[in-house]
């Protein structure tokens, strides 16, 4: 792949209700901050990609409503309805096709809609939707299938929640920094068996923006550029009954192609940190298996051996991940932003020492129907 840099990043704090902000206000804040972070102006930008979902926002063609606030006036603006990592992929493709720089900006306010209704709307209206299935119940079945297949226990998965909520204490943007124990997770309110409240990420309001730039524009920027070394996404069947939910084949495929593009032979050794989309505790080990960092059914062993803790050789979700902050759609873009901050050495209290190579991951669709994998590096 030709050289492309991430030149600017910004995110809002993530919280349960941003009462004084409309979508455009949040978008304006992060776009302005990302430009400032990059030391660029709107004159350096010729492409804008917004990320939003009409059901979440409660309006048709929701991207158009943030056109002004995203800096899209008189520019080539387009919208991705999906996770922010996929919006970033589109922004990247535009730069690779000759644009100088793309702003990619995602917003969501889970507080404004009934999120159960909205995620219920993902499912087939004739065969599934009227039964009431939505993101949590679908994921609970995936968790159950994964645990049953490989003999993973609820106590084991609870350790993921303890780690990620704990890491969030070092992240000033996190929604739910928490000092909790496995016992706290086990005793938290049952949500959908086997998931308890602390196995589930919150629903957050938030926004995030990045600037993806050609080497020419990146050279004008005053920020330290972070380089995109490999990126791929892959999807599998729409109907969850057509998939093996305990084996994320789309993630395996996306990861393999991203590693190949980045020239990564041994990801466990060559990566310094991973930011992945852990909307539920079970997702972290399952996605680590998909990423080829653990064998099938052995995802939990990484945390149990200390590999994925802040002190380990491959910290996973130093930010606290999606378990501690879940602005839907925005969360994937935040994985990229957190990786960029790490590689710049600007991650503050959550900084991973000597980080040079990072993996950021996002998902779309129920139970990780599609996955997007980014490999980022400090060096070109």
């Amino acid at each position: 792949m030709n050289d492309v840099a991430i030149a600017g990043v910004a995110q809002t704090g993530h919280e349960s209700r941003k009462d004084n902000m409309i979508y455009a206000d949040m978008v304006f804040d992060v776009v302005t901050s990302a430009l400032e972070d990059a030391g660029l102006t709107l004159d350096d930008i010729d492409s804008v990609v917004t990320v939003s979902n009409d059901f979440l926002d409660g309006r048709t063609i929701s991207g158009m409503a943030v056109g002004d606030a995203s800096g899209g006036q008189d520019k080539n603006i387009s919208t991705v309805e999906g996770d922010g990592t996929f919006g970033a992929f589109y922004g990247l493709m535009r730069v690779l096709s000759g644009y100088g720089a793309s702003i990619v900006v995602a917003h969501s306010k889970g507080s404004e809609c009934d999120i159960r209704y909205v995620t219920n709307g993902m499912f087939d209206p004739i065969y599934q939707r009227l039964l009431g299935i939505e993101a949590i119940s679908a994921s609970a079945m995936q968790a159950g299938e994964y645990m049953q297949r490989y003999g993973v226990s609820e106590e084991q998965l609870a350790a993921v929640s303890v780690k990620n909520h704990g890491n969030a204490r070092n992240n000033p943007y996190a929604h739910l920094p928490m000092d909790i124990s496995i016992d706290d997770v086990m005793k938290s309110r049952p949500i959908a068996d086997p998931l308890k409240k602390l196995d589930c990420g919150p629903v957050s309001d938030g926004a995030a923006a990045i600037i993806i730039a050609s080497p020419e524009i990146a050279a004008k920027a005053t920020s330290t550029p972070v380089w995109v070394k490999g990126v791929a996404h892959c999807a599998e069947d729409y109907m969850i009954g057509d998939r093996d939910l305990a084996v994320p084949v789309a993630l395996k495929d996306a990861a393999r192609r991203a590693y190949d593009m980045a020239g990564i032979k041994n990801p466990a050794e060559e990566l310094d940190l991973v930011e992945l989309y852990d909307a539920f505790s079970y997702m972290e080990p399952l996605w680590l298996e998909g990423l080829g960092l653990a064998e099938a059914g052995k995802g939990m062993s990484l945390l149990e051996k200390g590999v994925t803790t802040m002190e380990g050789s491959l910290p996973v979700n130093p930010s606290g991940g999606v378990l501690s902050s879940h602005p839907v759609l925005v969360a994937g873009l935040v994985r990229i932003i957190e990786s960029v901050l790490q590689l710049r050495g600007q991650a503050g209290e959550r900084q991973v020492k000597n980080a040079t190579s990072a993996l950021a991951h996002g998902i779309n669709g129920p139970c990780g129907q599609s996955h997007c994998v980014w490999i980022l590096n400090k060096d070109k």
């Binding site: 941003k18 009462d19 004084n20 902000m21 409309i22 455009a24 206000d25 304006f28 709107l42 059901f55 409660g58 056109g67 002004d68 606030a69 800096g71 899209g72 006036q73 008189d74 306010k109 507080s111 404004e112 809609c113 009934d114 209704y117 909205v118 709307g121 209206p125 004739i126 939707r129 009227l130």
Partner: protein, 159 residues
Amino acid sequence: MSTERNYDEQLTVKFTYPMPYRWSVGEHGSVFFNEIKKNRRFVGVRCPSCGMVYVPPRRVCGPCFRELDEIVPLTDEGTIVAFSTVNYPFLDPATGVQRPIPYTYGYIRLDGADNIFSHIINETDVSKIQVGMKVKAVFREPEQMQGNIQDIKHFDIIG
């Protein structure tokens, strides 16, 4: 064993429940509705770069990409820029029941504003409406106001 393939009936699944939302009005929008409630008039916001006065007020001027902060008091009057008298039935999104037809939808340039506001014009006889006519807002009584667009009942033609 064989299966009948030629059933006569093609089926439809109906879904008729609304999705609920609670949208933040935002700081600028809250000023707009509070001003209607308190002073029975409109306010706009002026762009420090291009001078455009936008109503309702918003945070960003798109062309200038500038943050807007200067709230500008306006009156309760304006001029018709375009209108249409609507004769087809449509479920009123505010009530869920059909709105009585006909009714007239209007684009109105409020005095002192540069962009166009839209609302209902209280006249359904097309021969009595013309572009360029002056209109005046009719507000709800203060105790009935809820801080939303229906605090304005409609605009009366005044000349």
